[in-house]
């Protein structure tokens, strides 16, 4: 089981803050492809990956990052702290 977290407008577009999924996706990109195939809301949220960031187990990473052993994947827009 993988926990997916969504923040800011990604959360709003998908309509959920978090969910658990069963997936055999090898990479973040594979996971995104699975989600997009599932529902229009995901297709909308993941339409432009240049405006998205991903963290695997709370560490920023790239879309080709492997998911082996991962417990938590978070998707969000570029951060606006400070």
């Amino acid at each position: 089981m993988l926990t997916l977290l969504y923040f800011a407008w990604v959360r709003e577009r998908i309509g959920l803050p978090r969910e658990k999924v069963e997936t055999g996706a090898a990479t973040v990109a594979d996971l995104i492809a699975e989600l997009i195939a599932r529902d229009e809301a995901y297709a909308l949220a993941f339409a432009d990956l240049t405006s998205l960031r991903v963290a695997v187990d709370q560490k920023l990473t790239s879309f080709d990052a492997p998911l082996a052993g991962a417990r938590e994947v978070a998707f969000f827009p570029p951060m606006t702290g400070g």
């Binding site: 977290l5 923040f7 800011a8 407008w9 959360r11 963290a55 709370q58 560490k59 920023l60 978070a74 969000f76 827009p77 570029p78 951060m79 606006t80 702290g81 400070g82």
Partner: protein, 141 residues
Amino acid sequence: MLRVQAEPFDAGAEVNAFTAGATGAGAVVSFTGIVRGDGGLRALEIEHYPGMTESAIAAIIAEARARWELTDVLVIHRYGLLELGAPIMMVATAARHRVAAFQAAEFLMDYLKSRAPFWKKEVGGDWVKAKAEDEDALDRW
């Protein structure tokens, strides 16, 4: 020291307490970010990623400590509903000499802006967009 909190804070009192505890320092630099009332903004809502927020800021502080000789570092960052004029966050750095304290404070600010998982939304409006110049600012370090 690192605090992530919803509650407001008194930046002046924080700097005084930080300075009083900064044994061996000859310089203290602080920065406070406040909610700016641009374009009819009423308030800001800040979302964050509990857990990653703390670990990301701790890593940024560790990097600053590795690069500059600092006697102490303080980062406070708020989340939730923030009124106009309210403090959003602050950093304070203490060092033997001022150059390290100034540079480390700027480094912390640049990284907190683009690498700590916070997202600002204008209440009644839209998500604040990340600026390209904030990402570019990381290149100078």
